[in-house]
Symmetry: C2
Amino acid sequence: MTEAADKSAGWVTFDPNLKIVDCTVRDGGLCNNHQFADGFFKDMYDTCVAGGIDYMEVGYKADKKLFAGSGCGPWKYSDEDDIRREVGDNEGKLKLCVMADTGRTNPSDILPKSESVIDMIRVATYIHQIPAALEIVKDAKQKGYEVALNLMAVSTVPDFELDNGLDVVSKVDEIDYLYVVDSFGSLYYEQIGDLIERYAKTGKTLGIHAHNNQQLAYANTIYAAINGVKLLDTTMMGMGRGAGNCPTELLVGFLKNPKFNLRPILKFVQNTMYPLSQEVDWGYSIPYMITGHQNEHPRTAIALRDSDRKEDYVGFYDEITSF
Amino acid sequence: MTEAADKSAGWVTFDPNLKIVDCTVRDGGLCNNHQFADGFFKDMYDTCVAGGIDYMEVGYKADKKLFAGSGCGPWKYSDEDDIRREVGDNEGKLKLCVMADTGRTNPSDILPKSESVIDMIRVATYIHQIPAALEIVKDAKQKGYEVALNLMAVSTVPDFELDNGLDVVSKVDEIDYLYVVDSFGSLYYEQIGDLIERYAKTGKTLGIHAHNNQQLAYANTIYAAINGVKLLDTTMMGMGRGAGNCPTELLVGFLKNPKFNLRPILKFVQNTMYPLSQEVDWGYSIPYMITGHQNEHPRTAIALRDSDRKEDYVGFYDEITSF
């Protein structure tokens, strides 16, 4: 353990291949239907640049036909024109990515990389959708993008299914990054470690996307970083669906890599995220703990938090644990 | 890692020697000067009994002469009469403990065990106070109590000092339990692991008391439990000084040991702790993250949170990191 600590003190802190992917606009947007105030996106972008963040996820690449009239803000679709209006040609080190949900994305909405400011397409998929996801993956790679595959809700996937799915994934050269995604915030470090071992067998560079239902998003992310995972998802002040994510500011403070700069991130958190947190409900609370412990989708807890009985922990516990 | 997961799935969950010490009244009392509402203590006690908690810490055993006129509530002193008024003779499985701060405790205030409902004395000490602490330890053991030694602020103790201190501790048979205490909430799992290894060399049964400055109190506590630590400190809804502690409800939900019962704990959290959290400031916030990252005492962050600039993260960061 002492040896591991010495090792991590060296390479985790300074490894230039360790990268932060800030998902605030994408995952945080699930808390407010991607309806951010004017100026939010540009401030967020400037903060990522100043903070030395490696990737900023600008939103979803959702099929407008499927979401017509849903009242979603522009970052549900992440049109090229909308992105360029905010970031111009994005000339700098910060890379941009979008999330393409399998079954909700029309690959024809994704331009060739030569015509886009987007650098990476992240394809989100449930285990049973992997064949459909791979169609988006191959299309995106052929168009010239970096490509990540985010396998959601892995905590509910039986090992046998998972290993078969990973075997398929391992044979797809078009996948650059493979993500461990704890959608329900139900995993703790030993389980993360077990998944890292399984995923590493694919030979892919790994990423982690954690949720904070058990106050473990940051803990699991640093555990993953120390155990070889290279892409680390975060959100400003942890803003993300339900219990939210690993806070960008916490991870930047931990990593100490000189490419990161905490102060501009704190400024954005203070001036923009904190006021937003007083209007929009996200982050750890007991109902999310309960769904996390039960390894369930947080939708029931989100509904409770959106009702007039948001602190009825016992009533909710009784409902969730009833037969 | 898979092997460890298999192992932990077995023994962590069911090991009857794994015990929860709820410190809400003692550590949480630091947030409100131990001024709890009428009925709080008894509800807390009943909740611990119903929840299967192993130990409840009733407060400090402070020397009244040193704290005269400080406006502290009764659980700063934990007089025998005050405890008995709430719990009678405490006939049941729940054990009671008090904390004796080295330099603030008069051993003559501690009755012989035969005259007391208290089961365990926890002696809190900084590294340089160990010789003074051992006087309280030996007195308490001679009087018939279980005795724990809580070595505070270990994150600031050089390894050389620590190993010498632990060597002294290892020779004192009167110590039943030795605590890893992360007073500043600055440690992550590898550092906890390193400390567990060092502390284990004393041959003592170990405990852990974590703070939540980096959202790691629960993560570090379950890591410790899986790595051989037996006494696990928690507080209801994490109520404790500054960023607070490992929440009792989170740990009880994780351990799954049939002796624990989450529902009465959730009921107390909902009806008593949540309303209290709207009046008294505790728990993770950015200023505590900053002192945690800096491995500093949280007193400056506590002062900030008690001022009219409690969300001035950047100003506070500039102060803390100025030369």
